[in-house]
Amino acid sequence: MDIIKGYAYILEDDISTDDIVPSHTLTMRDSNDMVKHTLEFIDPYFSKNVDKGNIIIAGENFGTGSSREEAVHVFKLLGIKAVVARSFARIYFRNLMNNGIPAISLKWDLNQFVKEDVIEISLLKGIIINKTKNITLNFEKIPKFLMNILESDGVINQLKKIL
């Protein structure tokens, strides 16, 4: 896993797991049923238009709140390719990586990304390119052991190989 291509979807600071999967959906036993509710209080069309916004570019403290891993499962099912944030809530960070979605920490600012900008990321080089704006930004490379988890498309697949 190295190059990731997609379109930017911009979110502000403090997006919580309650925002991503609202409480009223939590007793749905199948994450597939939750998908259409993803971020519904912020953008009711998010799940419909996800192909034009499959790389999340978010502010500080992304994924704050509960352990509910459904908040990552719905992203996985929707085909979100990576989440870039100024900072992550730690449980959400782990849940993303554990499910094979790269979590990239980057101090970006509002004039660098706009919704639907064409994005290309190289995980190995630690760069994110906004092709629409012709901007290249560097981020701290993901540690080797986490890259291994991403390469396996999640920690369960990785564990299966070892056990």
């Binding site: 309650d18 009223h24 509960s66 990552v72 449980i91 052991f145 369960i156 299966k160 056990l163």
Partner: protein, 419 residues
């Protein structure tokens, strides 16, 4: 080398000679707590690994608490999934649904002791830091990893030292302190960090109060919140466990990312306004805000200290006719004690509704869900949009004293003067 509490405990659980912030370690887990929110999903994930057993069925604390008793068919099915999981793998500490909320029941039963490393499938697992152990929340996949291997990777956090002095004035509680702290450092202020509580003010804090504080450190982003051991803790543990434990204290020359000092006597009633726990205000700034519901309970503030202060304020009074007050004790043990002390009668005579022990209202699940545009003052820990019900409803987080004073008045009010 000198170490903070987080560094010390992570070091004793990892096979490393030295430890410092930023380092990744693989640590041995002493105990893992799982409830029904992720139980069924963990079962599905775990099955993918093709294992017939878990690493240690004696180190798993399994409980149903979020939707108990089941309010819907789908919740009942979640419980069925969980029971099947527990039976299939022979979890020894399978608590069922009658004991109460995980973060209260687990310490009550003596499962959280000094020096331990505990994880749980719930972000408020940080609560157990009151008991001088490291504890934090993880997701379903991480739980599967622990179930299979008994280990988990951790990034060693930097620590923030918080020195507490003095004691609370009447009408002010631990909730007011932790809300003030979150306001001061922000909801991002402790991301990936461990908050360590020091100072001569700690001895003035009951175990109940400390649990309110460690419960909500995660609202400042913290990975751990941990208290130093003292006589109060020793006394508490003596009643709960006969197991041996070793207290952990940080080295005097340990390095902290920052230090903060609080005089508890300067803390005043504080609220978090909608819709973020970091949206902090003094109670006087929001006084007069009309409310539809007052909620007292949950893992943040459903303990004896909380119920006693509420009963003291409510005794001989009625809640405002336009307000519904819901009281949810944090555990069956607390429910029984409150019954014995006559507190439940005071609540019922004041026209409050007393429920069984559950996370129900706090997560907008059941037993107190908010309708469109309703306003609730709540002793819980989160007030995100839609957290307790309809997305247009609003939640103010406050202390049990402020919640109760507001329930009587029908609008938010300062509890000082009523106690």
């Amino acid at each position: 080398m000198s170490y903070t509490l987080a560094e010390k405990i992570l070091k004793t659980h990892s096979n490393v000679d030295e430890i410092s912030p930023g380092q990744f370690v693989e640590a041995v887990i002493d105990l893992i707590m799982v409830h029904e929110q992720l139980g069924g999903r963990i079962h599905l994930e775990y099955k993918k690994l093709g294992l017939d057993t878990v690493w240690d069925p004696n180190k798993i604390f399994f409980i149903l608490d979020h939707w108990v008793p089941a309010p819907t068919i789908s919740a009942a099915q979640m419980h069925q999934d969980c029971r099947k999981f527990a039976e299939e793998y022979g979890f020894i500490h399978n608590m069922g649904m009658d004991k109460g909320i995980c973060h209260q029941v687990l310490p009550e039963m003596g499962f959280a002791r000094p020096g331990m490393l505990i994880v749980g499938s719930d972000s408020h697992t940080t609560t157990y830091g009151t008991f001088n152990c490291l504890s934090t929340g993880i997701g379903a996949t991480d739980v599967s990893v622990v179930f299979a291997t008994g280990k988990l990777w951790f990034k060693v956090p930097e620590s923030i030292k918080i020195n507490l002095h003095g004691h609370f004035e009447k009408g002010t509680m631990a909730k007011d302190f932790i809300l003030s702290l979150i306001g001061d450092i922000s909801t991002k202020g402790a991301i990936y960090k461990s908050l360590e509580f020091h100072g001569d003010g700690v001895k003035n804090l009951t175990i109940d109060s400390r649990m309110t504080i460690t419960n909500m450190v995660v609202e400042a982003g913290a990975k751990f919140g941990i208290f130093l051991p003292d006589d109060r803790l020793k006394e508490w543990l003596a009643k709960r466990t006969s197991k041996q434990y070793r207290n952990v204290v940080p080295d005097e020359t340990a390095e902290y990312q920052r230090e903060l000092i609080y005089d508890l006597s300067e803390i005043t009633p504080t609220v978090a306004k909608p819709s973020n726990p970091g949206n902090i205000a003094k109670v006087e700034e929001v006084e007069g805000t009309e409310i539809n519901q007052a909620f007292l309970g949950g893992c943040t503030n459903g303990r004896m200290e909380d119920l006693r202060i509420a009963a003291k304020i409510l005794e001989g009074k009625k809640i405002h006719p336009k307000v519904r007050m819901i009281v949810t004790p944090a555990s069956k043990e607390i429910y029984l004690q409150a019954l014995k002390e006559g507190l439940l009668e005071i609540f019922l005579r004041a026209n409050a509704i007393v429920t069984n022990s559950t996370c129900g209202a706090c997560i907008g699940g059941h037993l107190g869900v908010l309708g469109p545009n309703e306003v609730c003052i709540s002793s819980t820990n989160r007030n995100f949009k839609g957290r307790m019900g309809d997305p247009t409803s609003e939640v103010y987080l406050a202390s049990p004293a402020t919640v109760t004073a507001s329930a009587i008045k029908g609008s938010i009010r300062d509890p000082r003067g009523l106690i």
